[in-house]
């Protein structure tokens, strides 16, 4: 079965056309002397074309190792710019890269690691309009994205183009990895037919992530990509690997191909790419914008003025205790999740200003409090980040 995958992954015809220079023989000597890779395997690696979706936490380590291993062509899809909060885990980007496009930064490092790799850059958001065209030039797709719409898009495009989808996903200190989209194996939709409604599952930006975790999971993905190219070993097809970094436990669950799967089942109903934002119930920025428009807001400057004038203002901080430790403006701390059961701590006759980090959670808090009958409650626009920008430049941002 594994050989079948390999023949599909990189065709023998393409492999025949490539050869190694003496410099490359020297560079890959530790591969060449092991029977599991050898000259045949190294030529397969050189002939292989792997597309990495995202050059962030997962994309960083996997692109670096695939490049070092001698994968001939690496495609990179990203449209983002390196920022300071990336550096804790996105190791392909350096401190001096902050502000640069991630694609340029990543391509430069890959070239430095291995000049024999051809890098193809796609500086764009992956969409239903461009995915099939981009996928066309590659044998394997490695999914290192950070959101549900792109996950479903990558899955469906892989199934439709018949390319394996090397999947990895992380949250805080837990990760998942698998190989989807092979002919015999299940796809992401077999596992999760539908995405969670927006807001129910926190993102990394909200929930945080242990910096080493994308390294662990990204390298599991890199390992699987290499195995698919070589056609050796047991690929993670039909298996979901769960990584718990805190307990340092690896568990494995059986995945089955769902005959009723809408995209890879017997009678598929999804035969072309769809609108994945709609599928995931996301209407871009609109949702939060609409909500905040209807909510009463107060600017950080206005709040500062009121506090300085000793007006009666009750500042409610709805972040988590560990965020309060990073920085605070002396507000009364009730984490958003505890608000319903601790609402009695608040006095509805007072002017309440709710804040969080950026204004999203406190928007939900204001919405909740208004429904609970509070009329004098406002949301601090831009949260404590805006406070740091406009009122107290000494305050750390996170």
């Amino acid at each position: 079965m594994t050989t079948t995958i390999s023949e599909e992954t990189v065709s023998a015809k393409t492999v025949k056309k490539v050869e190694l220079s003496n410099e490359e023989v020297l560079r890959y000597s530790r591969h060449l002397i092991m029977p599991e890779v050898g000259m045949d395997g190294q030529l397969k690696l050189k002939a292989a074309k792997v597309l990495c979706i995202g050059t962030g936490g997962l994309g960083s380590p996997l692109a670096m190792y695939l490049a070092a291993a001698g994968v001939g062509t690496l495609g990179l899809v990203d449209f983002d710019v390196v920022d300071f909060t990336n550096l804790q885990r996105q190791i392909i980007h350096f401190t001096s890269d902050v502000g640069r496009p991630k694609l340029d930064s990543a391509a430069e490092k890959i070239k430095e690691i291995n000049p024999f790799v051809e890098v193809r850059k796609f500086e764009t958001r992956l969409t239903s309009a461009n995915a099939l065209e981009i996928f066309k030039g590659f044998d394997i797709i490695v999914d290192g994205t950070d959101n549900f719409p792109t996950r479903y898009l990558v899955n469906d495009a892989c199934v439709l183009t018949g390319k394996p989808n090397v999947y990895g996903s992380i949250f805080r200190f837990e990760g998942q990895a698998s190989v989807f989209g092979t002919k015999e194996g299940p796809c992401y939709r077999c596992l999760y037919p539908e995405p969670p409604p927006p807001g129910l599952v926190p993102s990394c930006a909200e929930g945080g992530v242990l910096g080493i975790l994308p390294g662990l999971v990204g390298l599991i993905q890199a390992t699987e990509a290499i195995k698919l190219i070589l056609g050796s070993g047991d690929p993670l097809v039909g298996r979901l690997l769960l990584v718990d970094a805190l307990g340092m436990k690896f568990r494995e669950l059986k995945l089955r191909k769902n005959p009723e799967c809408p995209v890879c089942g017997v009678n598929p109903t999804v035969t072309e790419l769809i609108d994945y934002n709609e599928f995931c119930g996301i209407r871009g920025e609109e949702t939060t914008a609409n909500m905040s428009q209807s909510l009463p807001e107060i600017s950080v400057e206005e709040l500062k003025k009121k506090l300085d004038a000793k007006e009666d203002v009750f500042v409610l901080d709805v972040r988590e205790p560990h965020e309060y430790q990073i920085c605070n403006i002396g507000g009364h701390l009730i984490p958003l999740g505890d608000l319903p059961k601790r609402v009695s701590e608040l006095d509805s006759s007072r002017n309440i200003v709710a804040h969080c980090r950026s204004g999203v959670r406190s928007g939900k808090a204001v919405d909740f409090l208004r429904q609970a009958g509070f009329t004098k409650v406002r949301n601090l626009t831009g949260g404590i980040l805006a406070w740091a920008d406009k009122v107290d430049p000494k305050m750390p941002k996170y």
Partner: protein, 93 residues
Amino acid sequence: MKIHIPTPLRQYADKHDTVEIPASTVSEALNALIMRHPDLRKHLYTAEGKLRAFVNVYLNDEDVRYLADKEATAVRESDSLSIIPSIAGGCRP
């Protein structure tokens, strides 16, 4: 039996990563779990009381959806139940 609570849902289960629950079937175990931690209910079940499509429940390493008796499957004390929700993070900001 032991029920594994995944990281994103621990905040609704008093921060526990595993919960020990006496039960004779899968559904009994899940019911006992949400009795003990009522905040979990809306994250696991729809308003109509159906298990949500983005939440998978595994008995040991098998998806409960593919067991012959599904949620009515009998369990032993040594079995473990895992709740596996979908996570999206690849972590670009």
